[in-house]
Subunit: 316 residues, 2 copies
């Protein structure tokens, strides 16, 4: 009769936390079965991606559980976005530490509910276990793309333009802001780090003419390098053309060396934009360079090839 | 020039450890892409299950890495087996602690290779991250079943027989043996705990006439209870009919109370057999009871309903 909401047992937790997230999808069998059964969609391939996140590595112990859940969904949706795929549903594995109690679990599930609704996702199954270690999450995200039409990393050809969506470097600066190392008066930067916005709106443009695409999760330079490697080409990034937010422009202008500052932003991760290649400019993207014969990534600065002095720069 | 095999960087590790496990499956894109693209199989549903395992919870820190990998595959294959599905491939997320070094990772991958080959599985994708905590693994297993023919948990009807494959209790005794608490001269019990044998051989029998099935992972009583709950019926287990291995029979005979001993074996987990229901006896299974109107699980002992004294017994 007290107001406190007591934690139910394991099966009660699944029923309370996770069953509503299936949104009645018949293929999830109310999470009462050992497996989900997914009918094929004629004319489509199932596009599948999987990302894991560990507390203290991929998010901060102080991050609100609902935001962690939303980030987990969104980093996986970002992979689908780069592939030109339409979101469908997901499988979730959670390893809960004992310290991650009932209230935190409910918050976590509420984050999944919010973004599940927003992106039209159904929870299809999963596993919940306990761990003596940090909160560890793994999500397998499913989407659909017309048969054989997934936008791959491997189709870039010399002469293609290199392009990126949105702005670059906000993820890195957002992490710095969350640590208090960068000023972020309106919370824009920390928001981009904590709740990235998967670029599912670019799907049609990508599928229409992109020869290759990847999401910007490891960092623009690294992810352009993934395309270069898979395609057997070189990606040239003209650093002065990389689009920046007002906050990132202000930060870069305040650094000692503009080239080094922009290199750092282009090397930082967690932007969750899309980098792609195509023979001609694509709506929704900014041209930042070109694909050439060769391998790896090269940076240009005001017309000349240049390498950042910073350690951590890795060719390709 | 030394004989030592140095650990490559992250991408080198993926190339060395995991790419061979795709066995050339085109849908995995050599693990160079953000996602896999899985074409539908006409006339089939994709059957998907996900299980997580954490060091110190689901396996022992001293367990050899290759056996841990094989168990991870096999517990997921056991779910497919109970569903009457044909194995296809898997996605793998690994959170490596720093102490789980290159040699251990190679052993882990070699276990995946051995059983991947044996069961005809292809690695389709995944994610490798680092963790400050224990080794944490999550696997999403994919299989195929004829459209609408997955054997579910929810089809059991009053009057059906309750049946189980193989022998029960070896998983529990195997864990005790691995801890040195049960004598296991020939290693049979520990072997059943460490490398379970998913009952994929029962697929055709299950699909032919089973009304419901689940794999025995939480324990015979609990998993029969899952069928009962999903089907809205009661499962009656006649305990004296539960099939035991010679090792389990010997162990039970040496206990103070035979009923309590058998109850403990039927409550123990990790057998990875299949419990199912059908209107008539099924090849490959032993009849151990029946489905009745009601709910939960009841144990019978020599014709009478009886509840074990042991704590931990949960009705249904």
């Amino acid at each position: 009769m007290s107001g406190a909401d007591q934690a139910p047992d394991e099966f009660g937790q699944i029923e309370r936390l996770f069953r509503p997230l299936t949104r009645g999808a018949p293929e999830a069998f109310d999470l009462l079965d050992d497996a989900a059964a997914i009918p094929g969609r004629p004319g489509h391939d199932l596009i599948v991606t999987k990302d894991a996140m560990v507390e203290g590595v991929h998010f901060l112990p102080s991050d609100p559980p609902d935001l962690v859940a939303r980030k987990l969904l969104r980093v996986n949706l970002s992979d689908l976005a780069a592939k030109g795929a339409e979101p469908y549903g997901y499988f979730l594995a959670t390893a809960w530490p004992r310290t991650f109690g009932w209230e935190a679990r409910k918050q976590f599930a509420s984050g999944l509910a919010v973004d599940g609704e927003r992106f039209g996702l159904v929870l299809l199954g999963g596993d919940t276990v306990s761990t003596p270690g940090p909160l560890s999450l793994s999500l397998t995200m499913l989407g659909w793309a017309p048969t054989g039409r997934m936008v791959r990393r491997s189709g870039a050809r010399p002469g293609d333009l290199l392009m990126v969506s949105g702005t670059i470097g906000d993820g890195l600066l957002g992490l710095k802001a969350a640590h208090g190392d960068v000023s972020d008066p309106d919370g824009y930067l920390a928001g981009r780090y904590r709740v990235p916005n998967p670029r599912l709106d670019l799907r049609e443009f990508l599928r229409a003419t992109a020869t290759a695409a990847a999401d910007v999760s490891d960092g623009l330079i690294a992810d352009a390098g993934h395309i270069a490697k898979a395609s057997g080409v070189r990606a040239r990034i003209e650093l002065e053309r990389v689009p920046l937010s007002a906050a990132a422009r202000a930060w870069a202008a305040a650094q000692a060396d503009l080239f080094e500052a922009l290199s750092e932003l282009a090397a930082g991760g967690d932007d969750y934009e899309v980098v792609c290649t195509a023979p001609r400019p694509l709506e929704g993207f900014t041209v930042i360079g070109a694909i050439e014969q060769g391998e790896g990534v090269e940076l240009s600065w005001r017309g000349e090839t240049r390498r950042p002095a910073k350690s951590g720069w890795k060719h390709g």
